[in-house]
Amino acid sequence: MSLKKFVLGAVGAAVLAAPLAAPAPALAEDTLYLPKLVYRTGPFAPGGIPTANGASDYWAMINERDGGVNGARVIYEECEFGYNTDRGVECYERTKTNHGGALIYQPYSTGVTYALTDRTRTDKIPLLTMGYGRSDAGVGTAFPWVFPLMTNYWGQATGIFKYISEQEGGIDAMKDKTIALVYLDIAYGKESIPIFRTMSEKFGFTLKEYPVTFPGLEQKATWLQVRRARPDYIVMWGWGAMNQTAIKEAAGIRFPAEKFIGNWWAGAEQDTVPAGDAAIGYKSATFNVAGKEFPVIQEIVKHVYGKGNGAGEENVGQVLYNRSVVTQTFIHAGILAAQEKFGVKAITSEQLRWGMENIKIDDATAAKMGITGMVPNIAPTCEDHIGGGSFFIQQWDGKKWNLVSEPIEPMNDLVVPAMQETADKYLKEKGLEPATCG
């Protein structure tokens, strides 16, 4: 046998034998299976890495410190999809029945969220889309398996507008103002357009829309148009590679950074550090606070990094890392609620849906989870999968993000009817009956 044939044969045998060689979990052990769709590679990896690391580190800490959740060990498993919707769906299909069944999915991709909305409904698996995904999915009766939590894109858009109008001396002062909406030309970026148009009609400001071609590398044409329009404010719905280029281009046309406000996916260290001095003064929305001083982050440092483990120490305490950690604490709270209600440790995905609809993140729970001051309180219900919530505006000073606003609540008088209208339309198009609550 030649060396080449031997090597090929050995590799082939190893590949075929790999599934058989994997250790089978002990049958008696209670486990909780949390698959995570991640994108550590590709054009959106700069945002994908810290969100993946936050989740990975949190569950490693829970297993290390507590031996799991109430004694049920957490099986955290990543599936790389490179922010490609088709690969994200494939990851979902591949993992959903592993280890007794997936409890919940959190793809950090609006495209994947849209693709999985119907599938998770059929499979009865919750889809946690905190701060992204379908804006109308907060209507729990129409989307019983989707949990946007906190606020959605429409709520965020109205909140950013509220902040801008406060800077200008009130909503009446916005009548002769122009807001430029610069957005990534994909499902995610377009999500905010309807509510901005509604606000433009209602409050009388001029709205200019500027799509940026995916993935947002070359934006010169966009910024030339922005320069010509001379807007009073720029609002950005960007993600990944697009953001830091946009910040640099805005500086290139000498637009004042403090009047350039990104949404909460355009406000991380990954967006501002590569942009250098151009980012000083730039603002963004955020619903979680950056920093390492919070108890939950300290626990991760102690129990994960302190023992030489961990996914990426450079991300610890960053905006996106902390956001992912907060998301995991909400899942954790949902698991605890379901375990208590149903009296089992190894809960099912259907039981976790009940748990997610009954979490109460108040001051006491926040203290218990170690997230006091890190994120606003929320209390979702069966009907309301957002659960209240608010967010802040933060500003980059060249080294770190600083909060520059009080908590901002969305204009729910605008957002809730719009959500209900499109949710009703969705049910009608799909021929579905609304879920019943209580």
Partner: protein, 301 residues
């Protein structure tokens, strides 16, 4: 009248900005042309080589804490090594195979380099600062990006250097001989192996220069490899074998897509510049199938 002047100034700004962006596309396209010209292989991996070179440059700077010139030299060594590996393990085994086989092999190289580069150096956006000027200059209300001015000058310098290399040096003549006919070149004693290593090394060096320019503008990140898609319409338009064609093609595509985005985009919802570039190239192909400067291929039946 005043409105007209303002609008005309804006038009000039768009045009000039498009031309400068076009030179940045040309830098990427040059690497494709070099390898196609010398070996008849359409190197799909050129974008990945640019990313790999830029990642290596920043990686050496971060890892060793050295001045960028030292990192540049180390990266040149890496790109020569890469060229050697490509010849040794991929192309060397495929001599005299159909061009489509060689093309498919370069697709394989693309995915390998994309993945290997990120595994080796990470997937975060890395700022690249070698002291190139940033920000814009104000010429009577027309803003011109300083970095793009440097890129334009660099592209011009590269074309001049490559033209001399191809036309005035012995190696350049050997490269052209290999491009005309592999077997005939080998029969007169030209080492195909060495020629391929040289041309892939030069393409790697061009990729490094393009990577520095784009990396300074966008940060070094995975998306740089996608810029290869921006170079394709430039090649279609300029011709796959012409170095000046890559420059002229870049200028036409750069200016064309910016003007289209700004003056036609609003009528069709915007974000048209990517596909418009390809459409523009195809319109040119209707009149000159070999591209503006490409060699007309006549085969006897």
């Amino acid at each position: 009248m005043e409105d007209f002047v303002i609008e005309f100034m804006f038009f000039l700004e768009v045009l000039f900005s498009g031309l400068l962006t076009g030179t940045l596309y040309s830098l990427v396209a040059l690497g494709f042309v070099l390898i196609f010209k010398a070996s008849g292989v359409f190197n799909f991996a050129q974008g990945a080589m640019m990313l790999f070179a830029a990642l290596s440059l920043v990686g050496f700077q971060e890892m060793l804490g050295v001045h960028w010139t030292v990192a540049f030299l180390l990266t040149v060594v890496v790109m020569i090594l890469l060229a050697w590996c490509v010849e040794k393990f991929v192309l060397g085994k495929l001599v005299n195979q159909e061009p489509i086989i060689l093309f498919m092999a370069t697709i394989g190289i693309t995915f390998f380099l994309d993945g290997f580069g990120q595994t080796l150096w990470g997937s975060d956006i890395k700022p690249l600062d070698i002291g190139l000027p940033t920000g814009s200059l104000d010429f009577g209300g027309i803003f011109v990006d300083q970095l793009e001015l440097v890129a334009g000058a660099t592209a011009g310098g590269l074309v001049l250097g490559l033209a001399i290399f191809f036309n005035k040096t012995k190696i350049g003549r050997a490269l052209r001989a290999v491009a005309d006919d592999h077997q005939a070149a080998m029969s007169v004693g030209i080492s195909l192996r060495n020629i391929w290593i040289i041309v892939w090394s030069v393409a790697g060096l061009v990729g490094l220069v393009a990577g520095i320019m784009w990396g300074s503008k966008l940060g070094v990140q995975f998306s740089l490899s996608l810029l290869a898609l921006k170079a394709l319409p430039v090649l279609m338009l300029g011709g796959f074998t012409s170095i000046p064609g890559a420059i002229i093609g870049g200028l036409i595509i750069g200016a064309g897509e910016k003007l289209a985005e700004i003056y036609l985009g609003p009528f069709v919802g915007g974000a048209i510049e990517n596909w418009f570039a390809y459409m523009l190239a195809m319109v040119f192909l209707l009149f000159r199938p070999q591209g503006l400067f490409g060699e007309k291929i006549i085969e006897r039946v």
